[in-house]
Symmetry: C2
Subunit: 466 residues, 2 copies
């Protein structure tokens, strides 16, 4: 097999043994992949040839992007890890059409830079953007901090190219904003975590870059007031809220402990810390007025002021320039680092109806001590999407205990009409949740589709479906 | 079979013979369905029971909504037409969560009214809204005039309930804005035109109702200038263009001929007539200033004025009130009536890259006389989406000639990277186009999915897939 693969992509691009080490770890520290080989194709033809050869030999393909996933999606024993890192060309940015044609291995921050050079923005933004790739964000339907305004990855993709489990190339490339010619295959491959095929290239939507941002960190007492603030801001601005992130006091405390160099946003301690950002493309909001103030900033201040007077907002820091803006964001973007600095950790990624976030936090806080008196927790949320990254640090490494804690979290989520996976996907780590919580008919339909498109189980076997 | 169906839904709700007549026609006049019976279930259990019974008997189910489709999607000889008209309950409008839980038989305009009563808007808008149903717009992924701002039906749906081909009920109901728990089944059933299952209920997104509109009809000489205007308006307003509709001079002429009571928008004749509408929810744009003018109107006039001075816009009518606004819209919404008033008609619904609309119209105008010297044509376009409804009136009823004309249209569209179906779907009438123009691998994958989910071919057989 190794020789066959070397013949297809060249000896230098088939890694084995110790050369594979950088590909086998995992951010969460929970998984250690043991691939047969790591193969680095140069183009779609290479991918198709490799998939055909592996399928013929009865093997498995595990597609890999920037390897920043959090659910063990790249775990394998004996599969061929297909790293798309060499397929990193940005074919074109078409500013007038607001789109980018890219290969799957393009790193997210590279696309940010290429778009910015054209006065545009690719509105998918999260901490791992310097490593995550377009193929990866498509395969997991990644979310992040701007979903509130621009949607998840699925909504940002116009067209795809996919290599199927038998090596055929499926051409769903399209620049069109409307296309009702048959079933929506594109959205089936997006979010399938490599279990239905390998995404090799894509046409992504770009948006006009905001000409101005207004960014603030707010200290508040109650989550309900924060949601009220979000609604007021959306109403007054006409939907210009780009991010609305929630960090409880315990998050700020861990931030200060792990990264004292960064520190707390306020001298005081507040139960609810909100990072809010508005973005404006319209000149009448983005330009400075006669008083030197940008209208968007005035709009934000205009909503904050009465809530500060009423004591609903207790403290506030407004970014006065880009450096201050980045400093506010850094406190939010260190979430992964401060979460995985402590072990053992049980990380979850739950979605709730917007008005269910507080009930979720209250509900799980009531149950956790009964499951593990020595446990602590950490929450950080894309509050505007109802998406909470909730992590429990149990008192001991104990698989049965972990499972009871995860199940208790799922109970609370399910009672509120939520989902056990908001944006990280299922991979390996959430398969038990899929089995327990997903509609059985939905699971059966997914299994039917998997069998129909990958009857031999070549594509990332053992992931997503219980 | 009839007795079985009567036993399931009651004698009054199984129509046969002449009672079926209102269900069997077709707006286009091309199809006359001959169902075994028209069955009107009261709820999801009824639908499941009917599907099970029909599947057991080896029959076919043809789901029907408001029957306003344009591609023969309800055509059947001997199938059971399942009309969801009795399943027309709006279970709830949750204003704070901006969503509506509705049954599939709810008429689009009923949802408009229910949302409006809560200060919200369901942003799917087209001429047939008084008859089309939620189940129908979901099954065809309907578009319309507001796609530019709010997206197609797919983007407006949060959750679904579907009865599968074997009668199982698939629960994809969700109010969540993020949910990555497995494959995206929802978007597979949306736009499947009833060939994979029967959509029985849905959770739909609502948006804040615009507090102000600014609406104008413009007479121009060139399409390129119109696209330039669109870009300027999007830039100045920050993306507030809700509709940007194009009607050529020939459209206005037919409008005047068919509906002289409505008449032309201008005394003069212009090659390019544009209906543009901006909508604002932000108070700073929606409220009248000290001069009595709404800021949004001022913004529109501010973009139009220099283009009028330069002669790029030759005439303009701005709606001064809601009645004038509706009068401008009526000229656009009579498109279906004036198209189908003349027969024979070959109607198409093509999507193009935004900058390809002019090339399409020029390209087909050059080819049409060579195919049929006596043919005339009619175009009307959602220009902001690159979606042209292009109709040819051939000199004679001749199937082979029709096919040559359709194929020529497809040639021009394909050369420009477009699609033969933008928003009307495939149904029966565009199956030849699917066979000729769709990626063969995509067709094979669609057939695989159809076989996996409906192995006995119960659901709307003979539609969509060649």
């Amino acid at each position: 097999m190794i020789e066959t693969l070397q013949g297809l992509v060249g000896r230098d691009h088939v890694l084995t043994g110790r050369d594979m080490a950088p590909y086998c770890g995992d951010w969460t520290g929970k998984y250690q992949a043991e691939p047969l080989a790591v193969v680095r194709p140069a183009n779609t033809d290479d991918v198709a040839a490799v998939v055909k050869a592996v399928a013929a030999a009865g093997g498995a393909i595990v597609p890999a992007g920037g390897r920043t996933g959090l659910v063990g999606g790249l775990m394998t024993r004996g599969g061929v890890m297909l790293s798309l890192e060499r397929m990193n060309r940005i074919h074109e940015i078409r500013a007038a059409s607001r789109l980018a044609r890219v290969e799957a291995g393009v790193i997210l921050s590279s696309l940010h830079e290429a778009a910015e050079a054209e006065g545009l923005y690719f509105p998918l933004w999260f901490g791992a953007r310097g490593s995550a790739t377009i193929g990866g964000v498509l395969s997991t339907n990644a979310g992040g901090s701007n979903v509130l305004r621009y949607g998840s990855t699925r909504g940002l993709c116009l067209g795809l190219e996919v290599v199927l489990a038998d090596g055929r190339v499926l051409n769903l490339q399209s620049e069109l904003h409307k296309d009702n010619s048959g079933y929506d295959l594109k959205d089936l491959f997006i979010g399938a975590e490599g279990t239905l095929g390998v995404i090799t290239s894509a046409i992504m939507r770009l948006v006009p870059a905001p000409r101005a941002h207004a960014t603030a960190m707010l200290g508040m007492a109650r989550l309900g007031d924060a949601l009220d603030l979000l609604n007021r801001l959306q109403g007054e601005s006409g939907g210009l809220v780009e991010a609305f992130e929630f960090m409880p006091a315990s998050y700020i405390e861990r931030l200060v402990a792990v990264r004292p160099d960064v520190g707390a946003p306020f001298a005081g301690r507040y139960p609810v810390n909100i990072l809010v950002e508005l973005g404006a493309t319209a000149p009448h909001l983005a330009e400075a007025g006669p008083d030197g103030q940008v209208a968007l900033t005035g709009l934000l201040e205009g909503v904050l002021a009465p809530m500060m007077e009423q004591g609903l907002i207790e403290d506030a820091v407004l970014a006065q320039n880009e450096a201050q803006r980045r400093a506010l964001w850094q406190r939010r973007e260190l979430a992964a680092e401060i979460t995985f600095a402590k072990k053992p950790a049980i990380d979850t990624d739950v979605a709730l109806p917007l008005d269910g976030v507080e009930a979720f936090l209250t509900g799980i806080a009531a149950r956790l001590p009964g499951l593990d008196a020595g446990a602590s927790d950490l929450a950080v949320a894309h509050l505007g999407d109802g998406n909470v990254h909730y992590t429990v640090f149990p008192s001991r490494e104990d698989a049965a205990l972990s499972d009871r804690i995860v199940s208790a979290i799922e109970d609370v989520v399910q009672d509120l009409g939520g989902s056990f996976s908001a944006e990280h996907g299922v991979g390996l780590s959430k398969k038990p949740s899929m089995a327990r919580r997903k509609d059985p008919v939905a699971l059966a339909v997914m299994a039917n589709i998997k069998s129909a498109l990958d009857p031999k189980g070549v594509m990332n076997p053992g992931k997503v479906l219980p």
